[in-house]
């Protein structure tokens, strides 16, 4: 006990150790509990018909194919707009801009955008895209709203990726006499591609899980497009994503359907998460 090599044991240490283990255990148990519960409850509802059918009171069928298609529409349109803008902004901030007021303003704006809650985006989307631009409740309104929401995510990830490109690449390119745009296109963007893709996948994950921003912008229809013409027109029509349908089903008390959708969502989210992890790992190995 009196040896200087042995530290005195404090009873409060043990208590804190217990608290630490309990909290960590709680966090992990939480995730496992959520996954297991949704899996068990949702498994009963998910079937081939559920995934490929459309809900119809007339035929007495329940299906979420329409919502899956709507979700895909919103993902594709949002990403088509947000990726170029986000990447472009990152390129400007990292390659062109000189430190100053403009850069600080852009960075503050990006930071602010990522801090604004989705319900505010929803409100703004409804007012601006829905009413001012007369897009009403439509997939386009929803997508435009989400563009603003995922923009910071893509910009920041691209910026991080551009920062990891060694300066020697830039000097080498300039030394060879390339212009700046040519260097960005052929050297910087390809080298930063893993980071850009990771950012894009994370953005898709956010879109899949988003609900508050879509409730008042994309609406809630769950119909499938029937003809080729419908496919284009659909972007101007309301379309509820999986999350919106989950919310509506739960508020109507249809918990079976709600858990079925929850299971589908959870699987998508898990896949996206693993994909980003695998990508990051793959490219890190390549760099070494």
């Amino acid at each position: 006990m009196n040896s200087i090599c042995v530290k005195k044991r404090h009873p409060s240490d043990t208590l804190l150790y217990i608290a630490i283990y309990v909290c960590a255990g709680f966090s992990v148990a939480l995730l496992l509990g959520i996954i297991l519960y949704v899996l068990v409850k949702g498994f009963r509802c998910v079937s081939w018909d559920f995934l490929t059918g459309v809900t119809s009171v007339l035929n007495g069928t329940v299906g979420i194919a329409g919502n899956i298609v709507n979700t895909l529409y919103i993902i594709v349109i949002t990403m088509l707009i947000a990726t170029p803008i986000g990447v472009g902004a990152a390129v400007y901030l990292n390659e062109y801009a000189k430190p100053g007021r403009l850069v600080r303003a852009i960075e503050f704006a990006t930071e602010t955008l990522s801090g604004i809650p989705s319900i505010i985006f929803g409100l703004f989307g409804m007012m601006f895209f829905g009413q001012t631009l007369h897009l009403k409740y439509s997939i386009l309104t929803g997508s435009f709203t989400l563009v603003l929401m995922v923009l910071p995510l893509i910009t920041r990830n691209t910026q991080e990726a551009l920062k990891t490109v060694p300066d020697s690449y830039r000097s080498g390119a300039v030394g060879l006499g390339t212009g700046k745009w040519y260097m960005i296109r052929t050297i910087l963007l390809p080298s930063a591609m893993p980071g850009i893709i990771t950012g894009a996948i994370l953005a898709v994950g956010r879109i899949v899980g988003e609900s508050a921003a879509l409730l008042f912008t994309a609406g809630s229809s769950g119909l499938l497009p029937k003809t080729a013409m419908d496919m284009l027109e659909k972007t101007f029509e309301p379309g509820g994503t999986l999350t919106i349908q989950l919310y509506l089903s739960a508020s109507k008390g249809e918990f079976e359907v709600a858990f079925g959708i929850a299971l589908v969502l959870l699987v998508i989210v898990l896949l996206i998460n693993f994909a980003t992890k695998a990508l990051a790992k793959h490219f890190n190995v390549n760099k070494e």
């Binding site: 409060s12 240490d13 960590a24 170029p84 212009g179 390809p190 919310y247 858990f259 989210v269």
Partner: protein, 328 residues
């Protein structure tokens, strides 16, 4: 992937080369200069989109949120507690709603932040590498789960539990209105869970960033591991942990769908077993059918929420700047 994208530009290389060969190396290539200028301008426009977005959101929130203040009166709107938008003589007091958002967020932080920090300590200091490599991704996954799923699970698991608790607490009460478990307490618990990943992730990186010599010095002076963690490392990681708390406040204030599903829906005093409304859930549940003044008041509710969030953002920027200065 890299190879593929690298190959693509090669097809265009000869043309550029040819164009350059016809000119002197000291001459000016106007086409190329033009391209450079256009590229620069396009990138600038992309970068400015964020500024334009923030400005127009601010502008719209203010333009649409202020008319109701004039119509109903600032005092009647912000400081009255009676919310009866569809009554014959409508009353639009949102004081309880604002109060609920503040109280709910406060208790969610009180509950979630200690759990989050202790979990972060576990990941960085207590667990061995293998365990930490499992726990940390698990926590990151928590952040990816859509909020409606949290809401659904809260509705199915938490609310029945709360109802049991409620029945036990108010067994003798004659006046209590039973809520079936949809109450402020449920919302606080769901919010606390939802801010966990934010708090944990940022705390983990700030604890990891604490210089190793601080830890070694403390241990060498005879402090135990726990004393080192709580007396040296956490104080050293203070600014990062503060950032995580502020971000958590922002997340809790702005969360809408999950707590809309578990908090009930009456405008009530923020008491644990009352069915309550928050700023966000007020918008979610009434925006779809509100008209006239009622709708304008909802925009004011949005404006109030927006102001809260902007204040949080400014605090966040300040905390981060302070942290950056300290690190230098």
């Amino acid at each position: 992937m890299i190879e593929h994208t690298l190959e693509q530009p090669k097809t265009t290389t000869p043309r550029t080369k040819g164009a350059q060969n016809t000119r002197s190396i000291r001459g000016v290539n106007y086409t190329k200069e033009g391209f450079e200028l256009i590229a620069r301008i396009i990138f600038l426009i992309c970068a400015i989109v964020a500024i334009v977005a923030v400005l127009s959101i601010t502008l719209y929130m203010i333009l649409r949120g202020t008319p109701a203040l004039a119509e109903v009166g600032i005092k009647e709107l912000l400081f009255e507690t009676l919310w009866q938008p569809t009554a014959a003589t409508p009353s639009y007091g949102i004081a309880f709603i604002i109060l609920n958002s503040i109280v709910g967020t406060f208790f969610a932080i009180l509950l979630g932040v200690p759990i989050g920090i202790l979990t972060a300590v576990f990941i960085t200091e207590v667990a061995n590498k293998k365990v930490a490599a499992v726990v940390q991704p698990a926590v990151e996954l928590l952040a990816a789960i859509p909020s409606v799923i949290y809401g659904l699970l809260g509705l199915m698991i938490l609310n029945p539990l709360m109802y049991k608790l409620e029945k036990a607490v108010f067994a003798d009460s004659q006046t209590h209105q039973f809520t079936g478990g949809s109450n402020l307490l449920s919302a606080v618990v769901v919010l606390a869970i939802m801010i966990l990943p934010t708090v944990i992730n940022i705390s983990v990186s700030s604890i990891r960033a604490v210089p190793a010599h601080l830890k070694s010095a403390s241990l060498a002076l005879g402090a135990t591991h726990i004393q080192t963690i709580f007396k040296v490392m956490i104080p050293a990681a203070k600014s990062g942990i503060m950032t995580s708390v502020v971000l958590g406040i922002g997340r809790a204030l702005g969360e809408a769908m999950a707590i809309n599903m578990v908090a009930g829906g009456s405008v009530n005093l923020p008491l644990p077993f009352n069915s309550v409304r928050f700023l966000t859930t007020q918008l979610v549940s009434e925006m779809s059918y509100a008209e006239g003044t009622h709708r304008k008041v909802l925009f004011t509710v949005g404006l109030v929420l927006f102001i809260f969030i902007m204040v949080i953002n400014l605090i966040l920027a300040r905390v981060e700047r302070k942290g950056a200065v300290e690190n230098e």
